[in-house]
């Protein structure tokens, strides 16, 4: 009886077919909306926390942050950001004094887009930290750009003007040079290129050192999406 029960039925009307699919779609839609609504707060909170952690990681000594949107030629501290606007994150220390910018950057890597965040202190024009947020680099080789502690650590006091240069491992001599990873030359050069390109784009826009926007009263932004 149970085996192949539906094959014994006479051909159902088209109305019944349409109704079946409509009801299935409706129930499915409701279920999806339910799960979306119930997980959204957690997902947003996770993203915000991840971003805060990343900002604090690339800017040592920072304990507060706010989103700075580039609008009409200047940086505005605001949580709202339109789709076509770019933003950086300002990092401030315990007293609320400005420390540096955490700048999101993205560009082609060896396999797919590498998205990263780097910390930049305008006072001494140094890159003080780098954190890869997303990448599909080859496991075991290209993924050393975020697994190799030496490589990540070498973005700790790196001079970025004129620009960062990736050199063969062990031959770092100048403050703007960085050791590329053996076996991941393309990926490590890609990281350096992404930072250089993003920096030349932003260096024009950032205000003079010392006149950065002060820490606002509003709660630090966090949910802003990264490129």
């Amino acid at each position: 009886m149970t085996v192949g029960a539906h094959t014994e039925m006479p051909a159902p009307s088209s109305l019944r077919l349409v109704l079946t699919l409509a009801i299935a779609g409706l129930i499915s839609g409701i279920a999806i909306i339910g799960i979306y609504e119930s997980t959204l707060p957690t997902i947003t909170a996770n993203k915000a926390r991840e971003l805060r952690e990343a900002v604090f990681k690339v800017l040592p000594g920072v304990s507060q942050m706010q989103q700075l949107v580039y609008r009409d030629g200047e940086l505005v501290a605001t949580e709202e950001r339109r789709k076509d606007e770019q933003a950086v994150y300002g990092g401030y220390d315990q007293q609320g004094d400005f420390v540096g910018y955490a700048i999101p950057a993205a560009g082609p890597g060896f396999q797919d887009t590498i998205g990263l965040l780097y910390g930049y202190t305008p006072k001494d024009k140094l890159v003080v930290g780098m954190e890869v947020l997303e990448s599909r680099e080859t496991p075991g080789l290209g993924d050393k750009i975020y697994k190799d502690a030496d490589f990540v650590g070498s973005f700790s006091a790196l001079s970025i003007e004129p620009e960062i240069v990736a050199v063969k491992k062990g031959s770092k001599a100048r403050p703007n040079e960085i050791d590329a990873i053996t076996g991941a030359t393309i990926s490590s050069k890609a990281v350096v290129r992404i930072i250089n390109e993003t920096h030349s784009e932003w260096s024009e826009r950032l205000p003079r050192s010392g006149s950065e926007p002060p820490l606002g009263e509003t709660e630090p932004a966090g949910a802003g999406e990264l490129p």
Binding site: T2, V3, G4, A5, H6, T7, M9, A11, P12, R16, L17, T20, L21, A24, G25, I27, S28, A31, I32, I35, Y36, T39, T42, I43, N46, K47, E50, E134, R136, T138, P139, G140, L141
Partner: protein, 216 residues
């Protein structure tokens, strides 16, 4: 009564070894090869698939007499896709790190032919109890297969299991094992073993049968 118990047990157990969806039926190869570069990814993928398969089998079997056969595949896909979306958002909310690693392969569970295959071949023709048992067995077999491949590849390719280093600093990892070719190699060798095992077993059974015949 005894016979029914056997049936239940059989439907549950067949997916794990005799009809293992990966090693015997060779289904669901896409996630099998793509996300087994570490044991934890393999387990997360296996759990997500487990949830989707058991949930869909339960629903498909419950509604099997209401779904007209002309639109059954569409209905199965709607049910499966709903469960996949639920799994997708749940993983994103609870374990964002794992979700990031698995990436596009979570939504692609919809296209896992093992799941649709079980709905069409089993759940839509059997009562709920058997359908759920079958789904648990099949999903368990899939999870087991993913885990064994993921563990082998992580141990050889990374010298670690669940991120815990096993061999110390002197071990030179076989990077190729966590790259796509390693997946094909490992899977090929496991399939080879399964077929060899099956052949040996058939030979053994034939020998036993022959011995019994000549004995009696």
């Amino acid at each position: 009564m005894k016979k029914r118990d056997n049936r239940n047990y059989d439907e549950l157990i067949k997916g794990i070894w005799r009809d293992n969806p990966v090693f015997v039926q060779v289904l669901g190869m896409c996630p099998m090869l793509a996300v087994t570069n570490s044991a934890i990814n393999a387990i997360a993928m296996g759990m997500a698939t487990f949830f989707v398969l058991v949930g869909s089998s339960f629903l498909v079997s419950s509604f099997r007499n209401w779904i007209p056969k002309q639109v059954r595949i569409s209905c199965f896909i709607i049910i499966i896709a709903t469960f996949v979306t639920v799994a997708d958002y749940t993983l994103l909310a609870l374990v964002p790190k794992v979700h990031k690693e698995l990436g596009a392969f979570i939504p692609l569970i919809v296209a896992n032919c093992m799941i649709l295959g079980r709905q069409e071949a089993f759940s839509s023709r059997h009562p709920v109890r058997l359908a759920v048992l079958d789904a648990i067995g099949m999903a368990g077999g899939f999870l087991l297969a993913l885990f064994s491949l993921g563990a082998i590849r992580e141990i050889l390719g990374d010298g670690a299991l669940f991120g815990v280093n096993l061999f110390g600093a002197n071990f030179e990892p076989w990077v190729i094992m966590i790259l796509p070719p390693g997946g094909f190699l490992t899977l090929g060798l496991i399939l080879l073993f399964f077929n060899w095992f099956k052949e040996k077993k058939d030979e053994f059974l034939a020998d036993v049968a022959a011995a019994e015949r000549s004995g009696s």
